[in-house]
Structure formats: structure tokens, C-alpha cells
Subunit: 404 residues, 2 copies
């Protein structure tokens, strides 16, 4: 007997069959005497379809009306799920963002939830009703429909878990949880049973497919446990907690990779204070995110080489920006490489385990994988390597850190 | 410079191209200095698609949730049209039923609009903004979403014309107006330029395809002129007025037919007071609508024959109901014919023109069309004939009453 928030993602309500299946999952929990609030996404593909329609009507579709348009997607799923529950004898009712209301800061297309009323829903769920809330939507003080950004249904679920003070928050998706490596690419990848918020956030390439980062951040702030699992299976998924609740028998929780990288090196840069700022300021102004930066020690005290990584899709724009900035930053030549990938090992356990970096580098060296750049944080070590070495590197690290 | 309500039906906003076309129609009117409120239907086919989805989830879909589900259709069109207008430089804003609010009597799936607020929208349209209102939806006193029945966007448009005291109410659809006969079947059918509310309502088979009857009734009560026209052409359509505003050079405005009829005859019915009530009461209780009734004069003073017409789809149910009621109503035998159709001539001019009935019967006799039953009202004469005579009869009447 617990108070549970259950969130169903787009594929988990992607067809009328899936909606009926979701209703059955809820029924089981109700029959065990639990109190349930459900948050739903739009049916898979629906939000993209609506965005496509908006673009056919206007290349620069009005942001207020985009929110009105997109909020319809979750409205449809909410009503269908409520109807499916009523059909199998479970009292259920959908509550639109404006009916609750869920109050946001009023920013169109990218709002933040700031408050919500609980009376109506509390009364209903305490009488054994299932309240169904469309994710992703809320209203401003002026009663305008606002949405909270793509993947925002996760944020709605976490906000509801907080405001309604629930015991559990289950995020149903189409994968069984978070894995120690990409399970589609590496057969030895294992499902992670427990993971900390921090690790989940660092698992950018693995975790982000499963759950929206800002929702994980919010859960971390309020210390709300999450359970990410599949609506296509009854298996337990991955539980996300504060790191103090996790027993780290393994130093590393997962190995991730991203082939979305490119590397740029500026050779013979004049070595003087402020030169890095002079290089990177124009990039920031052009919305180019610089990831890793390595500056070699200046051998002659006059010039140095600076290497940094960016998103591969920003490569041309980046080179153009640097060249047009040549009067502020002197350098001899520029070289770039877009056949690189980023491999990361993530684990809260590494804070208390010395030698992880060394172990990683040794393992890669044994596979003759050349490291082009390195960056480290408290719970993550990332290296840039040749793209063709990706699979070999991930496999090796997965084995070396006892994840197989 | 007028205040105009413009309503676009499903086909007039049936695609993003049609929505852009609708925006251009509005822009022309705005550029002439008019003040505009727009009412939109769901995109053609959308409401049926949502109903189909609901039926896949539940054969007996919850009526409250059906309203939440269906209201999403008009929400999508409203947002897309507002975005299309903004794109061509026209200030526009969608207002959902709950934002205005449009208050209904609270009955799910078949509500009636009882009131709406005007302040917000008046302020916006007087500042040259186009207000876009989703048809078909409103909210109850308890802030529940309610819809006002299929085709309800016409009713929304008429209610708005009344409450906002507009000068005109244009109903855009996919036909150019109301015709003197079905233009798809009879090449000589002509568009009717002006028609009275009463005639429009009697034009069941022609008029109902163009505009929802209850909306015409409401317009009649408040004496609101309507203009039914096509969004696919710039031609003037059919204007609907009170009959006092129409100059009747023609006695008859149109000839309609319906092949949705069946005829039943009870032979040798005991002729005593109350027998008709005994026959028809059980039919009414079974939701069978009886249309025409003919009772022959009783030749022997003891038994008579009673003929009546019903919807063809009710035929089996009707015979079953009558047979099971045989202990209350004695008759010798029952016969039925489902190969019949109903032909009607409609015209407010017939009130002041004698001999219309005679002229109709004479014309049908000349074509050797046998009349199986007759019913008359002030502005309509209907006859039941053999279904195979339908085309011949409509053509002849269209010619005889100078409609070609």
C-alpha cells in the first residue's frame, strides 16, 4: 500500500493496444491497494507529427500557439487511458494542466513547473480513483497553455511525485532500464539495478535515451527515488537513488560512447594570458559548445598548441568562426579531425577508488587505442579516440571494470 | 467595416494547405477593416479517427473522457490557423473553450451552450486581432470539458454571432451553398441565393449536408442572418434569413429526396379509439421514429388499414416490436416495403400560392409515378413513391416548379 506516480512514455502509450496494456499495469497496482497518479506522454510520433504540421503552416510558428497545438497530444492519451481504465472497472479521470492547475513560469515552449494544486486530485485518489495527468503541459498565471520542453513528461512526473509526496515514481519506457553499455551494440552489456542520480546524469549517451536529464536533476535535488522500467516486460528496471543509498561493489557502473564528436587543433598559438578566452568567446557567442580543452605546455615560452572538441555538426561553423577571428588570435595553422569518438567510464565508486584513470589508460594501451584527449570529473573519465577504435575500446573497458 | 463571425468546417481546414487558404480568406476581410472572430471545426476525418481510437480502447467509452478526447481536434485546428495568420502578418490568437469560457449545461457529448464571457476577446478583436475559437467545445460549471454534439461547430458559430452581436455569420464549407436539388445527381440543380430558416430546416436531405439543423434553429430564434458558402471558391453562397426578408418569385425553392425510408402496412386493424396510440407507443419506447401515418376510412366500421413510414434501418426492429405487441393490437396481417423513397418539395411561397399540391400530384401522374403515401406541412409536401421512380420524379418536379 503505497502512493505511486506512474509515468508512461510515448511508446508505452503508442497505440490503442499499448494503452490497454498500460491500463492493465495500473489495475494490478490498484488491486494491491496502492494509490495511483498517472502521467502520460503523447502517443509515440504524435508530437513530431504536430511539429511537422506547424512547419507546413509557418516556418516560424508562433510560440504561444505551438504550446496550444502540442498540448493536444497528451490530452488525447490522457482521455484514452482514462477510458481504458473505466472499461476494466477502474475509476479513472483525466485532469488537464489547466484543470488542476499546474502553474508554470509562463515561458512558452520551455516552461518550468513552479506549483500545482492538490486538493481535487487528492480527494479523487483517496477514493480509489486513478488520476491521469497529461505530462509536458501547464498554464501560466495568465491562464495561457505552456509546455515544458521536449521530454517534459518526465519533469511533470517528478514534480508530481514531489508535490503529492509519493512513495515511488515509476518511469515506464520501451527499454528495461539503464545498461552498463549500449545493449544494442554490446551483447555483454548488463542492466544496472541501482544507480545514483549523478551517474545517471553523466550517462549522457545511455541515460538520456531512457529519461530526460532535467527531470533526474530535479529528482536529485528533492532526493526522490526513481524506477525506470519497461512497459513491455514485467522485469524490474533500474532504480535511481542518492549515492548514499548505493553499495558500490563495482567501481564503474557503465561505459558510454558518442560518435557525435570532432576535434580541432590550433598550432602555434601565441602563448599569453587571456588567449584561451579570446579563442572561445566567439564560439560561445555562436552557440558552439566546447567540450574538452587541452593546452600543451609551451616549449619555447612563446607559442603553444590548443586542442578542443566540439559537436561534429558544429565543425564547419567553428573553423569559420576561428578564421574570421584571426586578428584577435594569432596562430600558425589549424587542423581538424571528425573521425573521433568519445568514450567515458562512469561510476560514483571511483571517488573512493584510486588508480581508475591509470587502469583505464593501461587497458586502452593494451588494445593499441591511441588517446587523443582526456577530461575527468569526479565520477566520469572521458577520452577522445579514433572513431574506428570505438567498439574495441568499449568492449575492453567493459571487461576490465568487471561489467561483463 | 463589419463585425463578422467566420466558421470553417472540417474540409475547409482539412489539411495544412487548406488552413493556409483559410488564413488568406481571413486576411482579405481584415484588410477591408472588418473585425473578425473565427470558429473552426476539427480537420476533416479527425473526429471520426478519435472516435475509432476510443472504440478500440472501450466499446462503451466513458462519456466524460470522450469529450476530453474529441475537444483536442478543434484545439489543433485553432492553433494551426492562429499560427498561419501570424505567419502572414495578421495578429491572431486561439481561445480554448475553458479560456473564454464558453459555459454549457454540462451534459457530456450533447451539451447546449448557455453563456460565454466576451471581455477578453472583445479587447483583442478591437485591437485588430483575429480571435480563433474551437467549435464544438465548452465547459460545465464544474470546469469539465463538454462537447455539443456532432456538427456542433455550427452551433458555436451561431452562439458567438448572437453573444458578440455580429453583423454577419459566414459558414464556410465544401459546397457553394444550398441547391434546388442534389447537384451531384441532377445537373439542372441551381444554387439558391436566398432561403428562409424554415425552408432550410425542411431541406433535410439537402440542407443538413451543408449546415447543422439545430444551429439553423438557433439562428431563426434570434433572427441572425447566415451565409453558407464554399472556402474553395470566391462565389457568393446561400443567404439564410427570416422569410419576411425574402421575395418569393418562386413558389418552390427545392426538391429533395431520401432513400432512407421503409413503409409498413397493418391490414385489418380493429377500428376503435386509441388503437393508433396502442400501435405507436411501443415503437416510440424502442426509439423508432415514425414519419408519415395514413389511416384509411374504415369501410365496414370495424377494421381499417394503417400505413406508416420509418427509417429503413429500423425495419426489422419495427416488425418485431409490432408482432410482440399483438395482444394489445389486433390485426389480420402485416406487409412492408423497403424499396421506397420520399420526395419533398419545399417552399415558403406555397403558403400564399394555392394549388401546389394538385400541381405536384398531376406532374407525378404524368410520369406514371404512383404515390404510396402523402404528408404535408405549411412549407413542404412529401410523398412516398417506389424507389426506382426517384430520379424521374425529382427531375419532373424540378422542371414543373421552374427550378431548372
Amino acid at each position: 500500500m503505497a502512493k505511486i506516480v506512474i509515468k508512461f512514455g510515448g511508446t508505452s502509450v503508442g497505440s490503442t493496444d499499448r494503452i490497454v496494456a498500460a491500463a492493465k499495469i495500473i489495475k494490478k497496482k490498484i488491486n494491491k491497494g496502492n494509490t495511483i497518479i498517472v502521467v502520460v506522454s503523447a502517443m509515440a510520433g504524435k508530437t513530431n507529427e504536430l511539429i511537422q504540421q506547424s512547419l507546413k503552416v509557418s516556418k516560424n510558428f508562433n510560440s504561444r500557439e505551438l504550446d496550444v497545438l502540442l498540448a493536444s497530444g497528451e490530452q488525447v492519451t490522457s482521455a484514452l487511458l482514462a477510458g481504458a481504465l473505466e472499461d476494466i472497472g477502474i475509476k479513472a479521470r483525466s485532469y488537464m494542466g489547466w484543470q488542476i492547475p499546474i502553474l508554470t513560469d509562463g515561458k512558452h515552449n520551455n516552461s518550468r513547473i513552479i506549483n500545482m494544486r492538490v486538493e481535487k486530485i487528492n480527494k479523487f485518489i483517496l477514493n480509489k480513483g486513478v488520476a491521469i495527468i497529461p505530462g509536458f503541459q501547464g498554464i501560466s498565471k495568465e491562464a495561457e497553455i505552456t509546455t515544458i520542453g521536449r521530454g517534459g513528461s518526465d519533469a511533470t512526473a517528478v514534480a508530481i511525485a514531489k508535490v503529492f509526496n509519493t512513495d515511488e515514481c515509476e518511469i515506464y519506457t520501451d527499454v528495461e532500464g539503464v545498461y552498463s553499455a549500449d545493449p544494442k551494440q554490446f551483447s555483454k552489456a548488463k542492466k544496472i539495478k541501482k544507480i545514483s542520480y549523478e551517474e545517471m546524469l553523466e550517462m549522457s549517451s545511455l541515460g538520456a535515451k531512457v529519461m530526460q536529464s532535467s527531470a533526474v536533476q530535479t529528482a536529485m535535488i528533492y532526493d526522490l527515488p526513481l524506477h525506470v522500467r519497461s512497459s513491455f516486460s514485467s522485469a524490474e528496471g533500474t532504480k535511481i537513488f542518492g549515492s548514499e543509498n548505493i553499495d558500490y561493489s563495482k567501481t564503474i557502473s557503465g561505459v558510454t560512447y558518442s560518435k557525435d564528436e570532432a576535434k580541432i587543433t590550433l598550432l602555434g598559438v601565441q602563448d599569453k594570458p587571456g588567449v584561451a578566452a579570446d579563442i572561445f568567446e566567439p564560439l560561445g557567442k555562436n552557440s558552439i559548445n566546447v567540450d574538452m580543452v587541452i593546452q600543451n605546455i609551451s616549449p619555447d615560452g612563446k607559442t603553444t598548441d590548443i586542442t578542443f572538441t566540439i559537436r561534429r555538426s558544429d565543425l564547419i561553423k567553428t573553423i569559420k568562426t576561428i578564421k574570421s577571428n584571426k586578428k584577435n588570435v594569432k596562430f600558425q595553422s589549424i587542423s581538424s579531425d571528425k573521425k573521433v569518438s568519445k568514450i567515458s567510464i562512469i561510476g560514483a565508486g571511483m571517488i573512493t577508488t584510486p588508480g581508475v584513470t591509470y587502469k583505464m589508460f593501461r587497458a586502452l594501451a593494451k588494445e593499441k587505442v591511441n588517446i587523443l584527449a582526456i577530461s575527468t570529473s569526479e565520477i566520469k573519465i572521458s577520452v577522445i579516440i579514433k572513431e574506428s577504435d570505438t567498439s574495441k575500446a568499449v568492449k575492453k573497458l567493459h571487461t576490465v571494470f568487471n561489467l561483463d
